[in-house]
Symmetry: D2
Subunit: 335 residues, 4 copies
């Protein structure tokens, strides 16, 4: 039984807490949130102790490992604290919005041998993973192209944008990681187009984007396209397609159920794509916990670790540079 | 170049005329209809001679083979005349509404060696045929169950019902033939339920049915279900499913194109199933002509012949007996 | 927090125990099994007390309600004991294989006001339920036809058959209930065909069937077809289709994920249908517990109760009579 | 009856000849090919006169309009000759591989009032067109993103590459036109990545590409992605997707029929996407002739004309410039 402390009791922290509580091999030992009420509520719901501070969680002898689901600016600190305390940590993405801070964090935790897993949940989605495994097994021959469609069902509130760090660091960062996962290789070139189409006023004011298209290329020429939008009214649109010399695999959207209607004007009328990430990636979030428990129990490298978080952020920085200069950017220019 | 005479220039006759005219190996030599205007119109459209009588078509030295698409009561006579004239004939279903007349016709044409092909177009549908071929190749192992869904998009007019001969002889007859085709075997038992759900008044008055469910069984126990309705508002619903010990094949509906919509409330919104038989079975009607031309040219048995027409009618009669007596009927009781 | 005692710790009992343990509003208070080891194992896994006898569960002050997942011959006794003890009970189907025993049980529990819910899980499947709700809302106009496809992925062992009570009482009973649910009405006529196609020797020896097709009709003429097989190698095939005057709804199979392959010979290659009932109906089993908790907490009639169990068995008996006599049977002849 | 002369009796010319011959409102009056045998063969097959020279076709009083399906280097000359002869012309794409030649041709035919239709067949595909019409009707709100997937089933022979003019001018040119059609607007920026992944040796030698990804942007920020490959072994992959503020439309691949298989390892196993353009775009090629006949008969602008051909080539040139300089190119830099 792995005893886990959860830092952050917001929407995603609460979901992780529930998954841990329901896991046959884990126990939700302790929870913490800057909002003591939120922590108390989650603690009560799942019978976990409520810590008075983040430090108390790291220091606790009743906690074997830590899950960090707090606000982004605390991630790097908490990773460092977890590693210093010798407690394996599963941290939500991104590590930090600043590449310099990420690299300082990397130096701080280097060589400590404490597993740091990053919350790139999509790698654990059964469909995406089955696609990657088919590619890795050679089922589609040599991989040539990857197309990632990643669209949110709607615009988050202004308050979210103010701290999110920009579309590429906040949203596309998942796709940059997924691109690396599906390619099984490192992109060396990036070119990006950013748009302000949904709420031009707000995007202009914040210097952010709500719509984007990106191309990536690996050293041996494999190509990847990512498209992002914050306005997929038909659900959370999460698709991956891989083309190779022997075929194609596609991980498609998931619906709440498979009831379809036929009327006088249309057939095939099905449910929207699952809203939102907690529903769409429910199995992925559970599998992510499984993977973390394996690492805590058996040691070894996490399936997706700190360096993956750093590289995704490097791709985001390269995309911003491409946007600024209207050109194809070499990833090595950035990090 | 096979020179074909077409008897009957209504909706289906005109379609056959167009297919023959467009066929690289056939020529529409002559057309005839009791309505001289209809014949003139089709003759002009496709550059064919207009005959003054059906007899003239059978007698003509410029006609190698005949396609009969006239009213049902003329079918058996025209088949007999074609055979007497030594001209291969492709006759629309049914041969006749009376089993006695069909059997008399059988005796009249027996041993003449003139090919008679029946217009059971569904056997030539690419999807249904691919399903049958997969079954015949053993792809699904031993065949156990066949499910045929066959629903018209809407009710025909009263005038149609008055001469059609009843649901089982008019509409289900296609499904009885398809059942035999998919089963690759003869049903020996039939049980039927008939309903008057769409227009109970008219159906009651005419002693007809607009809705039906039927079960068939072969001597070795293979089972088949047919469901019929005259009210599939979402299109002409034409599906076949075969279950065997190693898998299942399904021939599904066809749409005009593959454009699908996703909205705030639904995904997968596609076109209705193709309306109506001329559109849905366009390829089947062309392939039926191909098959007929092969028989005219090369001789041999038609892929679907007179005896198939007779057996389908026997199944219809067995279904009516089942309806009347509320029991499972042995096909041998009827014919 | 509703405290539940689970009787029966086999495959399905264990699944229910896990669902109850993970439910935020329920507690797995006690478990029992004739096999003490099985009970001990489940008790330990979910932190529940292990009872020494079924009686101890019904008598316990720490148990608010009971879930019965034991062998069929005990169901009616345990329902009676639960009702006598004033404890709401969720009992797996069937109530009993004998209609006489079921009716004796009905008399024994009549008027006691203790909720008895039957384990017809399919009514709680999100897809099937969405289909029923669409029908009930009038989305497809007047309902005319229901088609239920219900095929197991493979043959159960001989030991299962020896006690299962025959295909219609064991397997089709779910479909009879689903037919009543989808029709929103009572079938008044039944006709059945049973087959021995997969393992003819065993089926002959046991007087059982492995393949079946059935037709049902309601008093106002709505028609329903059920097809059953024990050999759907492509997964647990569970589909429902409803045709009405304004359209059609179909609840289709569910896959583990939505990854599809395209190769040089095929496209659309997807996962098998989910194996087996615990996986396919995972959400349904959870929703069934939700519904039971509502009844325990708030009182009122269960969504699917004892009388539903009785009526499904009556339809099974009618189907056997139809099989024996080769005719359409009136349900009123049987019960 | 419009009398049409066809120049070029290769694969695509022959297909056009057959479509014209089968069209109820057109007549295949004359054919010509540099290979006299090819012309004779097509002439005989469809009963058309065989011309001794291209000039003879343009000069013939028996020809109302001309279809040009000859080798690319002759297109601009034949367009000029057709216009000079006052005969409406439907010319296969591209107008020419040289933008300078295209612009000279534009000047030569300017103001003559003779319709010139370009063979961008995809605009006439029922699915693509339905998608465009849904967008134009506002069904998906404001259009934000277009994704075009366009992959050939296999590599053409070396001889084809030697004269094709490069991937962007030969293959992507269809997608550039389709992008303009779906966007309903002009791209103002282009960035491209080209790959040599399938046959690196040949592509290197010829300076060509077999794999590509492209981004386009319109003045108001709409984004478009095109991906190309010459190795879609699962068929001719031709898809278009449009995302807007109120939904998404997708024009998907078409199969020869809708038969699907389920086995012990997979479900949904369907036919490959239709091979190749003549099959996949059969309806589009026929509708293209319909549109041409309307223009010949009624006058007015062709639905897709010379300027569309020029603009598609400009986008190809911009893509090559992007490739050469590794940057986002303004379309106005090129043409």
């Amino acid at each position: 039984m792995v005893r886990i402390g959860v830092l952050g009791c917001g929407r995603i922290g609460r979901m992780h807490a529930a998954n841990i509580a329901a896991h046959p091999e884990a126990r939700l030992a302790m929870v913490y949130d800057v909002d003591a009420g939120a922590a108390a509520e989650v603690g009560a719901a799942f019978g976990a102790e409520v810590a008075g501070s983040a430090e108390a969680v790291f220091a606790s002898g009743a906690v074997d490992a830590v899950l960090v689901a707090t606000a982004t600016p605390t991630h790097a600190d908490y990773i460092e604290m977890a590693v210093a305390a010798g407690k394996p940590v599963l941290c939500e993405k991104p590590i930090d919005l600043s590449l310099a801070r990420v690299e300082a964090c990397a130096r701080a935790i280097a060589g400590k041998g404490v597993p740091v897993q990053l919350g790139f949940n999509r790698r654990f989605d059964p469909g995406h993973r089955a696609a990657r495994e088919a590619v890795a097994r050679g089922e589609i021959g040599d991989l040539h192209q990857v197309v990632i469609t990643s669209r949110d069902p709607g615009m988050p509130p202004r308050s979210y944008y103010e701290v999110a760090g920009g579309l590429f660091r906040d949203m596309t960062i998942h796709d940059f990681d997924l691109a690396r996962f599906m390619l099984g290789d490192e992109p060396v070139e990036v070119v990006a187009m950013g748009g302000r189409l949904i709420d031009p006023g707000l995007m202009e004011e914040l210097g952010d984007h709500d719509t984007a298209m990106i191309l990536l290329r690996t050293a041996d020429g494999k190509q990847c396209h990512i498209n992002n939008s914050r306005t997929a009214v038909y659900g959370y649109d999460q698709r991956v397609e891989c083309l190779g010399t022997k075929g194609m695999v596609q991980s498609q959207n998931r619906r709440a159920h498979e009831m379809v209607r036929s009327t006088a004007t249309a057939t095939g009328i099905a449910e929207p794509a699952l809203f939102f990430f907690i529903e769409r990636y429910a199995e992925a979030f559970r599998a992510e916990i499984d993977a973390f428990l394996r690492v805590v129990r058996d040691g070894g490298e996490p399936e997706v670790g700190f360096e993956d978080g750093r590289r995704a952020l490097v791709l985001a920085e390269a995309a911003y540079l491409s946007l600024a200069e209207g050109r194809v950017v070499k990833v090595s220019e950035v990090g």
